[in-house]
């Protein structure tokens, strides 16, 4: 009897502790921004104990699918939704850029010190399987002073579908017509050459282990794990080493031509400091939200994310949105009805 009383008491206590107006919001999608999203949702929950946002990092594809099936309140994706997908949705979906990411070329050249520079032509050639030796003029031409070995290049790419692959192939599609027509851009593509590693850690591990290998990893992963990487020539002809500032600069460069729906690729963006292999990652939010409380909570969260939320980015090595983009996004919040 005593036991039962205790249990009842415990049950009542839990019920009392949960605010009756608690607003649960479910979201799912991209894995790349998961660390910053979970930080945001957690901090926001501390400020607004009645709002609980549950985010499942199941991948961009899953996020889009669940949004279309209406099993989540909003989705998240590393690539913008295609026109087909938007049409298929049957309801209007708004894109809100949240943070920025980039992909960097990482390589393993035994005996070579000094940072390599890559032209867009060299990167496209290597990943198309046309530039096969490290001392190929396409690479050696811009790396005077570095003695490059006459060894075969081992190409490493992501095997799992990923936003990083999307950024990388989007960039290669912009700088190489051959890439665009033969391979194209997506979260997984039909790679002309190379070995596939699972995840950033898989690619980085393979590159580290395999002499004369080159692969691409997410900038944040490279920064956090002190992986060295090369410089890439940007649209204005400068060789830029990827950094959070360089990625933000690419977004600022693209902000002037930003379409109203924010579905824009910022690879190969103009600007002297812009790092060319950069991209936004987006929250996908339905323009019509029936539940008034839910709508208010989501709109308020978006506003917070664009101001206070952005301050948390650099602690987790994400590139912040430039203020031009934030100003435009803040206006777009009003579109949620």
């Amino acid at each position: 009897m005593k036991m039962r009383k205790v249990l009842w008491f415990a049950l009542l206590a839990t019920l009392a502790a949960t605010p009756a107006w608690a607003q649960n919001i479910n979201a799912a999608g991209a894995t790349f921004p998961y660390p910053i999203y979970s930080k945001w949702f957690d901090e926001y929950h501390k400020l607004h104990p009645n709002v609980q946002i549950n985010y499942q990092s199941i991948g961009s594809g899953g996020g889009i699918r669940q949004l279309l099936d209406k099993t989540v309140d909003f989705g998240a994706s590393d690539g913008p939704m295609s026109d087909d997908q938007l049409k298929q949705a049957g309801f209007r979906v708004l894109h809100f850029p949240t943070v920025l990411g980039g992909a960097v070329p990482s390589y393993n050249l035994p005996g070579v010190t000094g940072e390599l520079k890559f032209t867009p032509e060299a990167l496209a050639g290597i990943f198309l399987g046309k530039v096969t030796k490290w001392n190929d003029p396409a690479i050696a031409g811009v790396n005077a002073g570095i003695k490059l070995p006459a060894e075969d290049i081992v190409v490493v790419h992501r095997s799992d579908g990923s936003g990083t692959t999307y950024i990388w192939t989007d960039y290669l599609s912009k700088v190489s017509d051959e890439w665009r027509t033969k391979v194209g851009k997506d979260t997984s593509v039909n790679w002309p050459v190379g070995l596939g590693g699972k995840g950033n850690e898989g690619v980085a591990g393979l590159v580290k282990q395999t002499p004369y290998a080159i692969g691409y990893v997410e900038l944040i992963y490279a920064v956090q794990n002190s992986i060295s990487y090369g410089l890439v020539k940007n649209a204005s002809g400068d060789f830029v080493k990827a950094s959070l500032a360089g990625v933000s600069a690419a977004a600022a460069g693209a902000a002037t031509s930003m379409p109203d729906d924010f579905r824009v690729s910022i690879t190969n963006a103009p600007g002297k400091a812009a790092y060319p292999i950069s991209s936004f990652t987006w929250l996908l939010i339905p323009a019509q939200i029936q539940d008034a409380a839910k709508k208010a909570a989501i709109k308020d969260f978006l506003g917070w994310m664009m101001t206070s939320g952005q301050q948390l980015c650099e602690g987790l090595a994400y590139a912040k949105l430039p203020k031009e983009v934030i100003a435009k996004e803040q206006k777009a919040i009003a579109l949620i009805q």
């Binding site: 894995t31 199941i58 991948g59 961009s60 594809g61 899953g62 889009i64 699918r65 295609s82 997908q85 075969d152 081992v154 095997s159 799992d160 579908g161 990923s162 936003g163 391979v183 194209g184 851009k185 997506d186 979260t187 997984s188 593509v189 039909n190 790679w191 190379g194 070995l195 596939g196 590693g197 699972k198 898989g202 591990g205 393979l206 282990q209 395999t210």
Partner: protein, 329 residues
């Protein structure tokens, strides 16, 4: 645990209302129904699984038809999908795994069951059963960090030097690839073969050994000619269990196979297995046709397992009928 007045067995059930009532009262009928439901639920599970795979792959099946099975292109960007490289990779790695694991496992099982002292055998078996419980990602990590560098720097160059005239052992030594995946699979499935085969060998009646010894056979001859053939069905069973695990293994294979959907003559070349591509691409597959093609790959894997299991059963029937001393194990 049968009580004294219920002597009917499954084969000789007596029917009719009175008998039914009696069996209900004693609990036999209830037990029969409950266990029947359990058995049917597993069948139902399989049926629902196939049905779901079939329905959800409709888009890809209609678009590509049977050509899906022998098309070699897998291109999510241009929506071209074919299963052949994945089927090839799955079969080759599983076959390699079995080719290494079967002799090794069977040899170890014979030693443990027939030749080793009982106490040693029990301790060994305990350790081997532990191996079977290690999560596959651990095998994958060991593969990446230990086996891959070893393959690249030692084993593959050595194979190239000695057997390099065969196309199977040509090409650049990346360390990862079909051969490495096969080796990792071999390590993963060998505990199954040892564990099950040892149990089966231990279950062979003493008479079988004694008869052979009495005829003047040496200990090895008795083991190889009298005991092993008697246990053949069970040993085959252990091999098929191992094969099933090899076909469906995902994580460890993904980490070492190289994940490249191409069919190359060399075992050093990177390949791709069905389970690996599903694990890799499912979460980010956005297009409907793409998703449907992935599900159809799942269906192909199911059919592959089904066909191989069927062949295995056939093999058992064919071999046991040729007087191996065992009718039904």
């Amino acid at each position: 645990m049968a009580t004294a007045h219920t002597t009917v067995d499954a084969a000789g059930l007596s029917w009719g209302p009175r008998a039914l009532l009696r069996r209900l009262r004693t609990g036999d009928e209830i037990a029969r129904l409950v266990t029947l439901v359990f058995a049917l639920s597993t069948v139902l599970l399989t049926v629902v699984l196939v049905e779901q795979l079939w329905v959800n792959s409709a888009l890809a099946r209609h678009r590509f038809g049977l050509a899906f099975l022998w098309s070699r292109v897998w291109d999510p960007v241009f929506n071209q999908f074919g299963a052949l490289p994945f089927v090839y990779g799955t079969l080759v790695t599983s076959a390699l795994g079995l080719a290494i694991a079967v002799p090794l496992g069977l040899g170890a099982a014979i030693f443990l069951a027939e030749l080793a002292p009982r106490r040693l055998s029990d301790n060994f078996t305990f350790l081997i059963d532990l191996l079977a419980a290690v999560p596959s990602v651990i095998y994958g990590l060991l593969g990446v960090f230990v086996l891959v560098p070893l393959m690249r720097t030692e084993i593959q160059p050595a194979l190239k030097r000695t057997l390099g005239f065969i196309p199977l052992f040509q090409g650049p030594a990346y360390g990862i690839g079909l051969l490495t995946a096969g080796l990792v699979l071999a390590v993963m499935i060998v505990p199954f073969i040892i564990s099950v085969s040892r149990e089966v060998l231990l279950a062979v009646p003493r008479d079988q050994r004694e008869a052979a010894l009495a005829l003047g056979a040496t200990r090895w001859e008795a083991t190889w000619k009298a005991v092993v053939p008697y246990a053949r069905t069970g040993i085959m069973g252990s091999v098929f269990l191992a094969l099933a695990r090899a076909l469906g293994e995902t994580m460890a294979v993904t980490m070492v196979i190289g994940n490249n959907p191409r069919i190359a003559a060399s075992l050093f070349a990177p390949g791709y297995s069905i389970a690996s591509v599903l694990a890799n691409e499912f979460s980010e597959a956005t297009g409907n046709l793409y998703l449907s093609a992935l599900i159809e790959l799942g269906l192909v894997l199911f059919l592959l397992t089904f066909v191989l299991n069927g062949l295995a059963r056939l093999l058992i029937v064919l071999t046991t009928s040729r007087g191996s001393g065992v009718a039904q194990a």
